[in-house]
């Protein structure tokens, strides 16, 4: 029994299905992300876990208790809203203390609890400020504090860093990660920012069109996407059409057209791929190398170079293919004609549908 169990949950709005039979398990203490493009149903799924939407079918349980029809104010969850939803008529102290009313603490007890929380999120001394006197980053902290002070079993975060500028967002990512380790609460984050999900989370569920495509750790997701949509959504990737010629015990041989005939580890092929199947070979830009020799390489012409400091990004055009190949390398930029190497261990075979 997992800590959070979402089982076969579906939701539609006026006939349009938004979440389709999603099943999901999150372990206690995990930092878990729902990642997907806008409109993929991730926020609706989060809102069903918080209790703001009622699923049409399926069930949700948290820590062994069924929550499917429990109203939000009785759930052991708290949410950080994308808009933060800080109460504009209350100051920082009263915002953070808002959810502690039912605990009937003494005045000193309440003050101590809020003070401790303010320390945790580094907003000491700002308890008297009203929300319109706070910066975006400070409001975000207040929203976090207001939720965390209730010690929820599960903290739900809806694009919590989306409204912050890039520098602040990166700083908050580090802090959020440290905070999650410190408080030990299970975090469920919704984001469309793949970099944010990869850097923050233990595991990620990639969603598209109301379904979960793949659930895996960041590295697994990046190195072994299970379908084209996941490969495309996480980072940049090059695709080549190929067909399977032979499947052995540990290796598989594929005919990759322009790239020639290649032998790659069998585990690099997605599940369900069989002999003679037409597949997509995928490889990340940083896994393609430049070579001096001609043997086993593909000739190409650099058509575009972007210098990015510690590495450069190239677009290489090869004969017989209209779309240039993306290559990322820290090597000093070669010019003109180049020889590209495609190491077989980094080539992933995906179903071509």
């Amino acid at each position: 029994m997992s800590f959070l169990e979402v089982s076969k949950i579906s939701k539609s709005f006026s006939g349009t299905p938004v979440v389709k039979e999603v099943t999901l398990e999150v372990e206690r203490g995990e930092f878990f992300a729902l990642l997907g493009p806008s409109g993929c149903g991730k926020t609706t799924l989060l809102r069903m876990i918080a209790g703001f939407e009622t699923p049409n079918s399926g069930s949700i349980s948290i820590d062994g208790e069924t929550m499917t029809r429990v109203p939000p104010h009785l759930r052991p969850t708290n949410m950080v809203f994308q808009s933060y939803a800080i109460f504009p008529h209350l100051n920082v102290f009263d915002n953070i203390a808002y959810g502690l009313r039912k605990e009937r603490l003494s005045k000193e007890g309440l003050r101590a609890k809020v003070k401790a929380m303010l320390e945790t999120i580094q907003l000491e001394g700002l308890e008297g400020r009203t929300p319109d006197q706070l910066s975006g980053g400070q409001r975000q902290r207040v929203a976090l504090a207001r939720a965390l002070v209730r010690k929820p079993k599960l903290l739900l975060l809806d694009e919590p860093l989306g409204a912050l500028d890039k520098r602040l967002r990166e700083a908050m990512q580090v802090e959020l990660r440290a905070l999650q380790r410190k408080v030990g609460i299970t975090f469920l984050l919704v984001t469309h920012d793949q970099q944010e999900a990869l850097s923050l989370c233990d595991r990620i569920a990639v969603m598209d069109q109301g379904r979960i495509l793949q659930i895996a750790g960041p590295r697994e997701l990046y190195e072994h996407p299970n379908c084209r949509a996941v490969a495309d959504f996480i980072g940049e990737i090059n695709f080549f059409h190929a067909s399977v010629q032979q499947i052995g015990q540990a290796t598989a041989t594929v005919n990759a057209g322009l790239l020639g005939t290649l032998t790659l580890p069998r585990s690099n092929l997605a599940q369900g791929i069989g002999l003679d199947d037409h597949i997509l070979l995928a490889i990340r830009p940083e896994h393609i190398g430049f070579a001096d020799s001609i043997a086993g390489t593909v000739m190409g012409e650099i058509v575009d170079t972007t210098f990015l400091g510690d590495h450069s990004h190239f677009h290489v055009r090869i004969a017989g293919r209209s779309q240039p190949i993306a290559v990322s390398s820290s090597a000093s930029p070669p010019t003109g004609s180049v020889h590209l190497v495609f190491p077989p261990e980094f080539l992933i075979g995906l179903c071509s549908d």
């Binding site: 104010h73 808009s83 933060y84 008529h89 808002y98 009313r101 039912k102 207001r146 209730r150």
Partner: protein, 263 residues
């Protein structure tokens, strides 16, 4: 030259709007029973007569009662309707909104007449209560419009956040919705009160023997010698109405800035 033309136009427009209204206070201090220029001297005797007129004070009391009750009920009903129409996915929501606002477009004389007939059929006596019912029809659209605008001005996530932090619907209303709606609620109370207080036709049909202030004034117009006193009364009502509307607008704007603090 062009600007000068526009200026003259604007001044003429303002004069057209407000000069007739200014006649009221001017003649209310004129020492003559006849409403005509030239003015014949300053007096406050019309105001003194007014203070001594028991029937007028009774009518004023009636109007205040009707206005107050109408304001409270239409704002209360408007609040629940506005919340439902702005916060829930209602089937038939826009139809409901249309029907609530329809009385705005029905001539008051038609409204008054039809209410008079219906009251007769169901055997309800003409009374101030009947006037309140009629005024509710007229005031509810105003209350709803003001309150809906206010609901749309604040983030629905705020109410969800309150639920998320452990408050049920009732506590959420008192701790979040009501304080944030307060400027809208006050504006609605003032607006509906003024609308009811000034309303004549429906009150004329439904008030029976208990006249409201506008009905009383209408009755006084038959006696030429009482006309200056009516002007004095009109001047007082005018000043109070303008002041109330100004306060309502001020309060409404006061809240708009505060409620829009977001991310």
């Amino acid at each position: 030259m062009k600007n000068r033309g526009l200026l003259i136009y604007a001044l003429a427009y303002l004069a057209f709007l407000y000069a007739p209204v200014l006649v009221l206070p001017i003649f209310s201090f004129n020492n003559s029973e006849f409403i005509a220029f030239p003015l014949s001297g300053f007096t406050t005797r019309w105001y003194q007569n007014l203070m001594a007129d028991g029937a007028m004070q009774h009518a004023l009391g009636n109007s205040l009662k009707v206005g107050l009750i109408t304001a409270l009920f239409s704002t209360g009903l408007g609040l629940t309707a506005a919340k439902a129409l702005t916060r829930y996915r209602l089937s038939g929501g826009s139809a409901a909104l249309g029907f609530i606002c329809l009385p705005l477009f029905i001539p008051d004389i038609v409204l008054g007449l039809s209410l008079l007939m219906v009251l007769g059929w169901i055997g309800l006596p003409l009374s101030l209560s009947a006037v309140v019912l009629g005024h509710l029809l007229i005031c509810l659209p105003f209350a709803l419009t003001v309150l809906m605008a206010r609901f749309e001005g604040f983030d629905p996530n705020l109410e969800e956040a309150s639920a998320d932090l452990g408050d049920d619907g009732w506590m959420t209303f008192w701790r979040v919705t009501f304080p944030l709606m307060l400027p809208g609620i006050s504006a609605s109370l003032l607006l509906t009160f003024i609308t009811s207080f000034d309303e004549f036709l429906v009150a004329y049909f439904l008030s029976g023997t208990e006249a409201t202030l506008p009905v009383y004034i209408w009755g006084q117009l038959r006696f030429p010698e009482r006309l200056p006193m009516v002007l004095a009364l009109g001047a007082i009502i005018l000043i109070f109405s303008v002041a109330l509307v100004a306060v309502a607008e001020y309060v409404r704007n006061l809240g708009i800035k505060k409620a829009t603090v977001g991310a």
